[in-house]
Amino acid sequence: MRKKKRLFGTLSVFALLIVVTIYISLTNGAFDMTVGEVVGTLLGTNDDPRFELIIFDFRLPRIVIAALVGMGLGVAGTVIQGITRNGLADSGILGINAGAGAAIVIFMFFFQGQISDLGTMGIMLQPIFGLVGGLIAALTIYFFSFKGGRLDTERLLLTGIAIGSGFGALSLYLSLKMKSADFEMATVWISGSIYNANWIYILSMLPWLLILVPVVFQKAHLLDLFQLEEATVTSIGVKVEREKSILLLASIGIISSCVSVSGSISFIGLMAPHIARSLVGTRHRSIIPVSGAVGMLLVLIADFIAKTAFAPNEIPVGIVVSIIGVPYFLYLLVKRKQ
C-alpha cells in the first residue's frame, strides 16, 4: 500500500513539474505571451491568428514531440538496462539510435526529393525503417559482445560506441550525397533535434507508443525476474529468451519511432531509469512509469534550453542532453565501482 502511495505521489509531482515546464515553454520564446492569451488560444476563445499560428503550428507540436520522445526513451532505457542487467546501458551509447538513424537516412536517400511527394505516407514509414536499423545495430552489438556464454558489460558498451560511430559515419556519408533540402533534414539525425516538429510526425510515432508502451508495462514484472540468476528464472517456468526478445523488440520499436522524429538523443535512457529507481525502488512496474515521466520532463527542459538559451540560434537538443548526461554517466561509473 505504501509503495502504491509513493508511486502515486511521485507521479503527481512529476505531472505537476511537466505541466509547469510546458506552460513556461508555451509562453516563452521569440514572442512572449501572457497566460490569458495562451489559455484563450488553446480554448479557441482568443482567435488572434498570430497566436494560433505560434501555438498550434510551432510551439505545441514541438512540446508534444519532446514529451513523447522523452517518455519513449525513458521507458525503453529502463527495459534495456533491465535486460542487459547493466546500469550504464543506454540506447544512444549502445548505438541503437545511430542504427535507427542510419536506416532512416537510407530511406530518405532512396526517396530523395520525393519525401514531400510521399507526404504523410513517407513520414509514417520512417519508424519502420528505423526499427530495421535499430534491430541490425542491436544484433551486431549482441554478436560482438556475447562471448563465453555471457554478456560482458564493458565490452557491450564499447561495442555499442563502435557501432554507433560506424552508423554515424554511414549517415554522414549518405547525407552528404543528398540534395540540400534533404540534407537539412538528415543532419537532424546526427545530433538529435526537434526543430522541424509538426503534427504529422506526432501522428507517425503515436501508434508505436500506444501499442508498445503498454506491452512493455504489461511485461514489467519479468524485468524484476531477470535481475535474478538466469537458472532461477528458468526454473520458475519463464521462457527467458523469448520474453527477453519480445521486450527488446518492443523497446527498439519505441526507440525507432522516437529517433525517426527527433534523431539520436543519448543519455535520456541512461538517466531516467536511475532517477526513477532512486525515487520508487526496485519494482519495474513502478520504475517504468516514473522513468517515462522523468524522461518526459528531462527532454522538455532540454528542448526549452535548446530553443531559448541562445535565441535566435538553436542548439540541437541532443547536445544539451549530452552536456547534462555525460557528467551523470561519469558519476554512475564512479559510484558503481565503490
Partner: protein, 343 residues
C-alpha cells in the same frame, strides 16, 4: 634510420628494414597519384611543369602547387603523427585500445580550437597550433585523471569508455559554443576534417613542431619497449617510468596537437596502424615507431585518395573513410582481446 645500429638477439630487423626501404617508394607513388587524380585529372607533364616552372597565372599549376601538393603532404604528415601517437600511447599505457581519438586527445584539441576561434579571431597559425597542443594536453589530462581516480579505471576497455564519453562532452560543449557565437560553419570545417584546406604555410609551421614530437618518440622508443613489459619490470630494470611517461605524453601532445590543427579530427588511424605494424614488425618500439609512422602516412594518404573517388565527383569526409575501415577493426580488437587483458 635514427633508431640506432646496434644489434641484439631479440631484434628481427629484416621486416622493418624492408618496410622502411620500400615505404618511400610507395609514398612517392601515392603523392604522384594524389596530385594527378581528383576533380580535375592532370597530366604528368603538367605536374612536372608546375613544379619546375611554376606559373602563377596557369590554373592547373595553381591547383597543383597550392592545393594538391599541400594536401597530400598534410595527409602523409598527419597519418604519421597520429599513428606514432597511437603507438606511443599503446606502449605507455599497455592499453591496446589507446589512441588519440579514443582517449579524448583530439576532442580536447578541437575544443581549444573552438575557443580560440571565438576569443581570438584571426589568430596566427602558430597560435592555433600551440593552442591545439594545449588542448590535446587538456583532453588527455582529464581522461587519464578521471581514469586514475577510478579503481580499474586505466584498464583498456574502461579507459576507452571514459575517453569516448569525455570526448562526447567536450565536442558537445564545442558545438554549443559554436552555435552561440555563430561560427558553426567555420568549426564544421575542423570537425569534418577537410584535408583540402591544408595550405603550405600551415604545413611548414606544423612540420618542425610535429617533428619535435617525432624525434622525442624515437628517442624514447627503447624505453617504451621496456615500459610495455609492465611498470614493475621497467622499474626493476632501473627505468624512471614517470619521466619516460611524461616525455612520451609530451611527444603525443606535440604530434596530435599539430595533426588536429592541420586537418581536424580524424579517428581510428592511431588505433589501427600500431596494431597492423606490431603484426608486421613485432613489439620492439625502436622499429615499431618509425614503421608505424610510414605505414600511417601511406594509409592516410590512400584514405584521402579514396575519399575523392568513393562518391565521385563529390568528396567524402576522410573521417568517414577511416571510420569505415576503423570500426570493423575496432570491433575485431574488442572481440579478440577482450576486456581485462593488456596489449
Amino acid at each position: 634510420m635514427i633508431t640506432g645500429k646496434e644489434k641484439s638477439a631479440q631484434w628481427k630487423p629484416a621486416q622493418p628494414i624492408a618496410i622502411l626501404i620500400v615505404a618511400p617508394f610507395i609514398m612517392v607513388a601515392v603523392v604522384i597519384l594524389s596530385v594527378l587524380y581528383g576533380a580535375k585529372d592532370m597530366s604528368f607533364s603538367i605536374v612536372l611543369d608546375a613544379i619546375l616552372h611554376y606559373d602563377r597565372e596557369n590554373v592547373d599549376h595553381a591547383i597543383i602547387v597550392t592545393s594538391r601538393l599541400p594536401r597530400v603532404l598534410a595527409a602523409l604528415l598527419v597519418g604519421a603523427f597520429l599513428a606514432i601517437s597511437g603507438a606511443v600511447m599503446q606502449g605507455m599505457t599497455r592499453n591496446y585500445l589507446a589512441s588519440p581519438s579514443i582517449m579524448g586527445v583530439t576532442d580536447g584539441s578541437a575544443f581549444f580550437i573552438t575557443i580560440a576561434m571565438i576569443l581570438l579571431p584571426g589568430a596566427s597559425n602558430l597560435t592555433m597550433i600551440m593552442l591545439s597542443m594545449a588542448g590535446s594536453a587538456f583532453g588527455a589530462l582529464i581522461v587519464f585523471g578521471f581514469g586514475s581516480l577510478l579503481r580499474g579505471g586505466l584498464s583498456p576497455v574502461r579507459l576507452a569508455i571514459i575517453g569516448t564519453v569525455i570526448g562526447t562532452f567536450l565536442s558537445s560543449l564545442s558545438a554549443l559554443m559554436a552555435t552561440y557565437f555563430q561560427i558553426s560553419q567555420d568549426i564544421s570545417f575542423w570537425y569534418n576534417a577537410k584535408l583540402h584546406q591544408a595550405d603550405m604555410d600551415m604545413l611548414l609551421l606544423a612540420l618542425p613542431l610535429g617533428l619535435v614530437g617525432f624525434i622525442l618518440a624515437l628517442l624514447l622508443s627503447g624505453s617504451l619497449t621496456i615500459l610495455s613489459l609492465g611498470d614493475e619490470t621497467a622499474v626493476s630494470l632501473g627505468q624512471r617510468t614517470t619521466v619516460v611517461k611524461a616525455l612520451a605524453m609530451i611527444a603525443v601532445i606535440a604530434m596530435t596537437g599539430t595533426a588536429v590543427a592541420l586537418v581536424g579530427k580524424i579517428g581510428f588511424v592511431g588505433l589501427i596502424i600500431p596494431h597492423i605494424t606490431r603484426f608486421l614488425v613485432g613489439v620492439d618500439y625502436r622499429w615499431l615507431i618509425p614503421c608505424s609512422g610510414v605505414i600511417g602516412a601511406i594509409f592516410l594518404a590512400c584514405c584521402d585518395l579514396a575519399s575523392r573517388f568513393i562518391n565521385y565527383p563529390f568528396e567524402t569526409p576522410i573521417g568517414v573513410v577511416t571510420a569505415i575501415i576503423g570500426v570493423p577493426f575496432f570491433l575485431y580488437l574488442i572481440r579478440t582481446k577482450g576486456g581485462g587483458k593488456h596489449a
